[in-house]
Amino acid sequence: MKNIWIICRKELRSYFASPIAYGLMAFFAAIAGYFFYVATAIFVTRGLESQMMGRGFPMDVNEWVVRPVLMNISVIGLFLIPMITMRLFAEEKRSGTIELLATSPVRDSEIILGKWLAALILYTCILAISALNIALLFLYGKPDWRPILVGYLGLLLQGGALLAIGTFISTTTRNQIIAGTATFAACLLLWVFDWITAYETTTWAKVMSYLSVVTHFEPFAKGVLDSKHAIYYLSVIFFGLFLTARSMESLRWRA
């Protein structure tokens, strides 16, 4: 436990010592802010229209603003995650510092968990920026806070799962750029699986649809907490970290 935290703190320190963390935050703040603005604008115009037609104001903030914003954020996440995980192991392998970690009295699992946790914490910090947007809604309206919480839980689970995959990919190369590109490709693939499957009904299509990260996020965005989907994300996290451990082990044999 203690070792995980030691590794995690070192990773966080590296993230925040370089422009990466701030760059990602700024990038995210701009894009997420833009989507929030668009969603709110649509909501307001539609609301005014229906009011003028004499139907009162029956539109739901959660449905018209929170849900599309959460869906957008989950897609932006696909772009952020490769940037967060690409350096985790690739850079240690390139610079040789992996020799320090691997010859210190800590377990591989502690190194992996520490790094993954640091990535998750950075991702959470980035998501927190969008929470500021959502908080604005509470100033002007009365959105239901429970679906929002479930939505953020979904974002964290999805982030954790993709970060685990990215962590694994980062162990397979000593080149950050390759690690980042491959992780981006993997994220994209898991995302587009959902499109392919929209027109297919074969078993393969069902498998691909099951693997798609987006399929599993939708319920969270709607504010529905379904253990089936949470379990999907948790198993991807477990599987990704397990692969990372195997990869580290084989690195030792080949080194």
Partner: protein, 324 residues
């Protein structure tokens, strides 16, 4: 303290370490000598549990590197070929991180960092970024991280490679000063380094053990013969290289004549004597008597290759003759 038995490490295509065995007693400074590609780094990586051996065993302080890697790692300080530094960290911050990683409790780590900074003479760069350090300082911070948890065994991979002569001297002195408290293995491909720093030497070549001995015994054994550089020029006209070579080979006491180069009609050779013979006088006489000019004649230090040639020749294949 360290016991290695028929250790073999095979990579995909090469056998980097081939069945070597040796022992190191507590408190010794041992030089691990061999040319590039001999398998020094590989052996050290097995000892530090960075990679497992293909076969054979290695034990550190009684713990097997495969069975109890965590126990071994607690007792080893390791300085890899290039110091494992994080460029974005400050010196003190880095040492604190390594200290915590090696299991020093939070309450003790600051004091320990101060101690190793003092010991490795890096106190003046405590708050400098690691990326901004000169080579000599990087090496010293590398040493500081290796000793921070006061390990029983220190493993240093070519600690003086790439340093300038002044830094080399400082580093050697520092390593020597650490000897009292730690068992030290350092690798090098430079013979004088072993002579100056170490008590015991382990020589490997192409993954095989060539010899292990005390430094005294080894230098004594090697002093037996001498190597001489000879440069000969004709007094006038031309001169055949082969003719000179034949004449030098006939000088009594000469075991081998190696042709080096011919430039401006000057022929350069390297001559090795038989054991216990000094041949410089006889060589000079022979050249002059042949009516040639002796342009240069001096004894050269033994190169590492020659040592390997001698050791492998005198020990009948070498690898088997390595018991201390």
């Amino acid at each position: 303290m360290i016991k290695v038995e028929s250790l073999t490490k095979r990579y995909a295509r090469t056998v980097a370490v081939d069945g070597i065995s040796f022992e190191v007693e507590k408190g010794r400074i041992v030089g691990f000598l061999g040319p590039n590609g001999a398998g020094k780094t590989t052996t050290m990586r097995v000892l530090t549990c960075f990679m497992p051996p293909t076969s054979g065993t290695a034990r550190v302080a009684g713990f097997d590197v495969l069975q109890q890697p965590l126990e071994v790692k607690k007792r080893i300080g390791y300085l890899p070929e290039s110091p494992p530094l994080y460029p974005e960290m400050e010196v003190v911050e880095y040492l604190r991180f390594v200290g915590r990683l090696k299991g020093i409790p939070k309450s003790a780590v600051d004091r320990r960092v101060d101690e190793v900074c003092e010991r490795c003479a890096i106190t003046d760069v405590r708050t400098r970024l690691l990326s901004k350090l000169s080579r000599g300082y990087r090496q010293r911070v590398g040493l500081a991280q290796a000793i921070i948890h006061n390990p029983d065994v220190l493993i240093l991979d070519e600690p003086t490679a790439g340093l300038d002569p002044k830094q080399i001297n400082e580093t050697r002195r520092l390593i020597k000063s650490l000897a009292g408290d730690h068992t030290i293995i350092l690798s090098t491909h430079i013979l004088p380094e072993v002579e100056q720093t170490c008590e015991q030497v382990i020589i490997i070549d192409k993954g095989k053990l060539v010899a292990t001995d005390t430094v005294e015994n080894l230098t004594h054994r090697l002093r037996g013969s001498e190597t001489v550089a000879v440069e000969v020029a004709p007094r006038d006209g031309a001169l055949e290289t082969a003719e000179v070579q034949r004449r030098l080979e006939q000088v009594p006491g000469v075991s081998r004549v190696i042709f080096k180069e011919t430039r401006d009609n000057r022929h350069r050779f390297e001559v090795e004597s038989l054991e216990g013979r000094s041949v410089r006088g006889a060589l000079a006489r022979s050249v002059v008597e042949a009516g040639w000019d002796l342009v240069e004649l001096h004894a050269t230090a033994l190169s590492l290759e020659q040592i390997f040639l001698q050791l492998t020749a005198s020990e009948d294949g070498g690898a088997a003759g390595g018991k201390p």
